[in-house]
Every structure is written in structure tokens, then in C-alpha cells.
């Protein structure tokens, strides 16, 4: 599904990712944890094709395609989805028509017929139940005037409608209260299947109580310094990151 080898990325000449390796297979959920400034969001942005990041060396392939050479919209149409840490507001653009356009772009790319308004509405109404979102939010402009929790639910709704093969959740838990967290995580769990994979980026272990990962990786200073199973997350919760960082340093 996703194979990252020795990825080195810098922003304005400053190295952020310093040789990152990651293998994600279909059906797997990988959690990426780490202290602030370790490069978690950079990883999410580079994978989804955001401008402003310089890839210095290494490779990333997705479904056998050279990911780093693809335009962001092509990555999306190939089934890659990023749930934004800070979802963007787009004034005046209706949430439903935006999502319909997005879905139809993806369907066109796959050679499928575009959905008309009626079919689309029945799909979206079904998926809205996953995230317990108010129907009224469909009529509003994209994310405008949404509360923090509503924005995050809107991200998961988009994910449910677009049905990606690889979803990257960038700190989706930040700013969520416990109820919203449960709803968002519940949405993700319902979308899980043996065909799709998730990369869950989070600062806290809390989210992983609800979305149980197959693997946990600790990112620090641009490298994965430790990988393990879900127990690693619990250990981090208990002991913090410092012991790991020290361990990593002593190895150098």
C-alpha cells in the first residue's frame, strides 16, 4: 500500500524528516506518535503533496506508484485522503456541492460514472449517520461557522463519502471533547476493512483507546526511533517520551 524509504525532507533549507522508513500494508492501522516538532505533520503534508516541502532524498511509493511525483489531486483521486488537523473554511462554497464535486472527480478518474444529485444525496445521508452530523451542516459553506468538533466530523464525513484506500489522520483528536472523539473514532472504525489502511498521527494515546492500531511508531527529530504494537502507546502514556529520546540519543 504505502512504502516509504529513507525519506529526507527539508523546509526552507532546514531538515525536518531525516531518513524515515515506513511500510503500511492493506488493512493495517499505523499510529505515528511523537513530541511536538518531531515532523509528524510534515510527514502528512509531504505524503499528500502540499507545496513548500523539499524532498532531498528517499522515496515514497503508494500502490506501486511514485507518490512524490504525483500532483496532490491525482493522489486524492488514487484514493489517498488527508483528514486535516485544521480544516479549511471556504466561504460561499456549499458543503454538499463541494463534496459531490470531489467524489465525482474521483469516480471520473476511476472510469466510473458520475453520481447525479439524487444518488449523491442518498449516499451522503447514509454516511452522515456514521458521524452523527446535523443535516443542516450540509447546506452551509464548507467548514464556515463550524465548531471545532463539527469541522473534525466534517472531515470524517468526507472520508466516509470518498472512501479512500489510504487515509492519513493528522491529529484528528486535537481539540475534541471525549464525546466527539468517540464519534469520530467510531466513524473510522466503521470504515475499516481489509482493503484500506490508516495512518493515524496523534500526540496523545487517548485516541488509540478508540482506534486500536496494529502498529505504533514513535517519531522524533525526523526519524522513527521506536516501533511496536499498541502496548507501546500505553507505555508512552505512562512514561512520556523522554526515556525514548534518551535511549535514542545514547545509541548515536
Amino acid at each position: 500500500m504505502l512504502s516509504i524509504k529513507n525519506l529526507q525532507v527539508s523546509v526552507e533549507e532546514k531538515p525536518i524528516l531525516k531518513g524515515l522508513n515506513l511500510e503500511v500494508k492493506p488493512g493495517e492501522i499505523h499510529a505515528i506518535m511523537g513530541p511536538n516538532g518531531s515532523g509528524k505533520s510534515t510527514l502528512a503534508h509531504v505524503l499528500s503533496g502540499r507545496e513548500g516541502y523539499q524532498v532531498d532524498s528517499g522515496s515514497a511509493s503508494y500502490k506501486g506508484l511514485n507518490l512524490l511525483e504525483m500532483a496532490p489531486e491525482i493522489r486524492a483521486r488514487e484514493g489517498m485522503f488527508l483528514a486535516f488537523q485544521y480544516p479549511i473554511e471556504i466561504p460561499g462554497v456549499n458543503n454538499t456541492s463541494f463534496l459531490k464535486k470531489a467524489l465525482n472527480e474521483i469516480r471520473k478518474h476511476r472510469g466510473e460514472e458520475e453520481l447525479d444529485a439524487i444518488d449523491f444525496l442518498s449516499l451522503i445521508k447514509k454516511q452522515m449517520k456514521l458521524v452523527e452530523m446535523k443535516e443542516e451542516l450540509l447546506k452551509r459553506p464548507v467548514n464556515q461557522g463550524f465548531s471545532g468538533g463539527e469541522k473534525k466530523r466534517n472531515e470524517i464525513l468526507q472520508m466516509a463519502v470518498l472512501n479512500p484506500t489510504l487515509a492519513i489522520l493528522d491529529e484528528t483528536d486535537s481539540g475534541l471533547d471525549i464525546d466527539a472523539l468517540r464519534i469520530v473514532a467510531g466513524g473510522v472504525n466503521k470504515l475499516r476493512s481489509s482493503d484500506n489502511s490508516f495512518v493515524v498521527i496523534t500526540h496523545y494515546q487517548r485516541l488509540l483507546d478508540y482506534i486500536v492500531p496494529d502498529f505504533v511508531h514513535v517519531l522524533s527529530n525526523g526519524q522513527i526511533i521506536k516501533s511496536g504494537t499498541k502496548e507501546l502507546a500505553l507505555e508512552l502514556e505512562e512514561r512520556g517520551y523522554d526515556w525514548l529520546l534518551e535511549e535514542a540519543e545514547s545509541k548515536v
Binding site: 496532490p72 486524492a76 480544516p87 479549511i88 471556504i90 470531489a102 459553506p141 468526507q158
Partner: protein, 497 residues
């Protein structure tokens, strides 16, 4: 020469990655046109330049009654004493008024087939989904298809005639309804109004005339696709719309497909008159050729549009989507003379590359309880400059006048400019005037967000801009609104990334 054009015109599929080469091709084809006009021109043109004789000849050519000839001459003499205004925030090389043709009958000229037309233009037609027969018409190809539209127009005319509605070229109205023309022409925009309107009064070529009799609601949108294809002739359009008591009309001007025109100068005048309880809705989509990406060529559009809410409870609403022309100078205005009358102005003005627009409105409150609404949405991209200039004036006798103005600017990229010049002249203390203004940018974050959902950058910018201008698009008739949104994306092509 035709062979050469054919050879250089690339097939559609190849167009995408060829923009530089295409620019060169465009330049070559443009040059070809110029020579083409010189060699096989067959046009009934008067000599260049303007004097009393030319004015008389224009009037004679159109078989106009004495009063029209006199009116044109008065305008001409007044114009001679005027200077071109320099106050707008526009920069352009001086127009040589003695180097223009002031009258030319549209005869066969221009390209012989679509093979000879600028491939860039054809690509745009493709994107806008313009039907084939219309493409030829818009590109100035002389075709039989015109006959179809003439017959369609005649059918409409019969139906309107039954209701007593007059909808015809103004040259025809001057012949057939001189009393109406004499009564209303120049009453809203007098021939002394401004440099361009004065020039137009002297030499106007043609335009539309509409009269809606009392109590009649015009059952269809009246629209004018106007067309000119004579080389180097200033375009002087004149439109007069009169809505008699208790009547209603919605009028559409222009079209979304880019219109090619060799004439650089356009100075049109539109006058609207709404009597008691009458309503006029006037919608424009202006997409004249804007010049190439380097800012060469393109139309200078100096337009005077004004409506008079003459009767009580009358209403005039202007909606404009301005995306074309190298230079736009245009202030559709309302004189709110009748008590309780309402004036509205909804505008989207988009500039890209080196385009310049100085546009806005004037709302002149004279009657009691008059209300006006101004929603202006400027969009600047490339190296363009976009200015809103608006006046809200409340006269001393206009008790309880109300105005709400909202002027927003949207910037795309960091080399463009947006300017707002609101003027307020309030002479009555009971007036309530509100003005709000915002400036925002299309952010990379927004584009990336849409990209990440599978939407291309071009579509993303189109969506963001359409969302921003939604309040104005909502005012347009349905089909027009859909086309106008497509036009946004096409006009902004290449402005991001």
C-alpha cells in the same frame, strides 16, 4: 496565408502543454488577421476621423428624422469642447479619436472559417461549451447560421407584439416610434453627461430599444447578442429601455463567451426609465477580448449606464459580471427620484493578467423613503488592477433614505491590486447609510484543501471565486448564472501556481 494558419493551428489534444508555443502561434495568427482585413476588406466605411459632416452622414445613412440629426450635432459640438477624463485609476495609451472610423456597415469580413480563428479562443469556447454555430458567430465567421437566429428573433417579436411590447434595434425605433424616442432619449444620460456619453450621442451606431406598456409583465428575458465585425470602428452602442407604469422587464446583455473585436474603443450608453410601480432588472455579462497575457490588445470599455426610478415605488436593479476588456470604466447608476423607489447594484468584476477595471455605481437619493443596496465583489489576479468607485448621495429632500453598501475585494497572487473609493454625500440627517468593506486572499491552504479532495487547481480557484461572488450570481437568471460560474474558472486560468 490561409494555408499557414491551418498548419499552425494545433489539434485540441496538443493544446494543453503548449502555452508558450501557442502564444507565438497566437501572435502569428493575429498578424495574419490584420493583413487579411487589409486585403479582402469589403466594408462600407466613411473616412477616418470625426467632423460635422460625418455626423450628418451617419444620421442620413440611417434615414433619421431631423430632431435626431440636430441632437447628434449638438452632442458633437459639445464633445469638441470636452477633454477625456483622467481621474479613473487606469493607465492606457492615448486614444487617437481622429484615427477611428465612426461608421461602418457590417459586411463580410473576418475569418472565413473556424480554422482561421485563434486556437486559444477555440479552446475557451470548448471549455464554456459554446454550441458550434454560435462559435462561428462569436469568432466573427460569416455563416448562414445567423439566418436561424434571425428567424427565432422574429418569432419572439410577434409574441411580444401581442402584448404591446416593443423590442427592436434603436435605429428601427427612431423610424417607427419617433415620439417615444424623442420623449425619452437623453433624459437619463443627457448628451452633455460625460466625454464618452457625449461622443456616443453624436455617433451611436445602433443598439436596443425596449418599451413595456402599462401593467404588462414581460413574459421572457429579453436579450441582446450584439455583434460587430468591422475593422477599426469604434463601437458606440445605445440602449434605451422604458418600463411604463406597473410593468416589469428583465433584460440580459452580452454573453459569456469571449467576443473578438478589432475595435479597441467601446463607448456604450444605456438608459433605463422606470415609471410608477415599474421594475427593470438589467443583467450584464461582459467578456470582451481582454488582450493577451502580456497585456497587448484588448478592448477599452467606457460605458455609461444609468437608470431613472422616475415613478413612485419603482425599482431598478443592475447586475453585472465583468470579466473581459483590457480596460473597464463603468458605473451603472440609479437616480431614485420617485418616492419609495429602490435601486440595486450587484457586481462581480474580475481582472487578470494586465487588465484594469474602475467600476462601481452611483445611487442618487432624491425621493422620500428611497432605498439602495450595493454589493460589489472585486477579484484581482495576475498583474491586474481592480478599483471599486461608488457614490451614495442623499439629497436634502430625500427623507428617510437608506443605503447599505458592501464592497469586498479578493486577491489572487501578490502582484495584483484592489482599491476601494467610496464617496458619501449626505444632505439629509434622516438618512441611514452603512458601508462595509473587506479584503481577502485566495489562500494556498484553500487550494490545497480542495486539491486534496481530488479537485484540480483550476477548478478549485473557480469554486473559491464562485463562492465568494455567490450573492451576485444568485441575482442572475439561472442559465446565465451557471455560465458565469464556468466563466470564472476559465478567466482565471493560469493565475495560480
Amino acid at each position: 496565408m490561409i494555408d499557414k494558419t491551418n498548419k499552425t493551428a494545433p489539434k485540441n489534444d496538443e493544446n494543453i502543454a503548449m502555452s508558450d508555443e501557442q502564444q507565438t502561434i497566437q501572435n502569428i495568427t493575429d498578424q495574419d488577421y490584420k493583413y487579411g482585413f487589409v486585403t479582402d476588406i469589403e466594408m462600407e466605411a466613411f473616412p477616418k476621423g470625426l467632423d460635422e459632416n460625418i455626423v450628418r452622414m451617419i444620421s442620413a445613412k440611417k434615414n433619421e428624422p431631423e430632431f435626431m440629426t440636430e441632437w447628434r450635432l449638438k452632442a458633437y459640438r459639445y464633445w469638441r469642447k470636452q477633454k477625456e477624463p483622467k481621474w479613473p485609476k487606469l493607465e492606457y495609451s492615448e486614444v487617437d479619436y481622429e484615427d477611428l472610423y465612426y461608421y461602418a456597415a457590417p459586411k463580410k469580413d473576418g475569418p472565413k472559417s473556424l480554422d482561421e480563428v485563434d486556437p486559444e479562443l477555440l479552446k475557451t469556447f470548448d471549455k464554456l461549451g459554446v454550441p458550434l454555430e454560435e462559435r462561428e458567430l462569436l469568432a466573427g465567421v460569416a455563416v448562414d447560421a445567423v439566418i436561424d437566429s434571425v428567424s427565432v428573433a422574429t418569432t419572439f417579436k410577434d409574441k411580444l407584439g401581442e402584448l404591446g411590447i416593443i423590442f427592436c434595434p434603436i435605429s428601427e425605433a427612431i423610424q417607427d416610434h419617433p415620439e417615444l424616442v424623442k420623449k425619452y432619449l437623453g433624459t437619463v444620460v443627457p448628451y452633455t453627461d460625460n466625454f464618452y456619453a457625449t461622443l456616443n450621442s453624436a455617433v451611436f451606431s445602433d443598439g436596443s430599444f425596449v418599451y413595456i406598456p402599462p401593467g404588462v409583465r414581460c413574459p421572457m428575458e429579453l436579450s441582446s447578442y450584439f455583434r460587430i465585425n468591422a475593422s477599426k470602428t469604434g463601437q458606440f452602442e445605445r440602449t434605451l429601455i422604458v418600463a411604463d407604469k406597473g410593468s416589469y422587464v428583465s433584460y440580459l446583455e452580452g454573453c459569456t463567451a469571449p467576443m473578438r473585436d478589432e475595435n479597441q474603443l467601446h463607448a456604450a450608453v444605456v438608459e433605463l426609465i422606470a415609471l410608477d410601480d415599474a421594475e427593470i432588472k438589467y443583467s450584464t455579462v461582459q467578456n470582451w477580448y481582454a488582450g493577451n497575457k502580456e497585456g497587448v490588445g484588448g478592448i477599452f470599455n467606457f460605458v455609461t449606464k444609468r437608470g431613472l426610478c422616475g415613478g413612485s415605488n419603482s425599482k431598478i436593479s443592475w447586475t453585472q459580471v465583468e470579466t473581459g476588456s483590457a480596460i473597464t470604466w463603468k458605473y451603472p447608476s440609479c437616480i431614485l427620484k420617485g418616492d419609495n423607489s429602490v435601486g440595486e447594484f450587484y457586481s462581480v468584476a474580475l481582472t487578470n493578467n494586465y487588465q484594469q477595471a474602475d467600476t462601481g455605481t452611483k445611487m442618487i437619493h432624491q425621493g422620500k423613503n428611497t432605498r439602495s443596496l450595493i454589493i460589489s465583489k472585486g477579484i484581482s489576479a495576475g498583474k491586474s488592477n481592480n478599483a471599486y468607485r461608488g457614490l451614495v448621495k442623499v439629497n436634502s429632500k430625500a427623507e428617510n433614505a437608506r443605503n447599505y453598501s458592501q464592497c469586498d475585494s479578493l486577491l489572487i497572487g501578490d502582484q495584483c491590486g484592489a482599491h476601494t473609493y467610496p464617496y458619501l454625500e449626505i444632505e439629509n440627517p434622516s438618512a441611514q447609510v452603512e458601508h462595509e468593506a473587506t479584503t481577502s486572499k485566495v489562500s494556498e491552504d484553500q487550494i490545497f484543501y480542495l486539491n486534496q479532495r481530488g479537485i484540480s487547481t483550476e477548478d478549485a480557484v473557480g469554486m473559491i471565486v464562485s463562492g465568494y461572488a455567490r450573492e451576485v450570481f444568485q441575482q442572475l437568471p439561472m442559465e446565465f448564472a451557471v455560465e458565469a460560474q464556468a466563466l470564472m474558472s476559465v478567466s482565471l486560468e493560469g493565475s495560480v501556481g
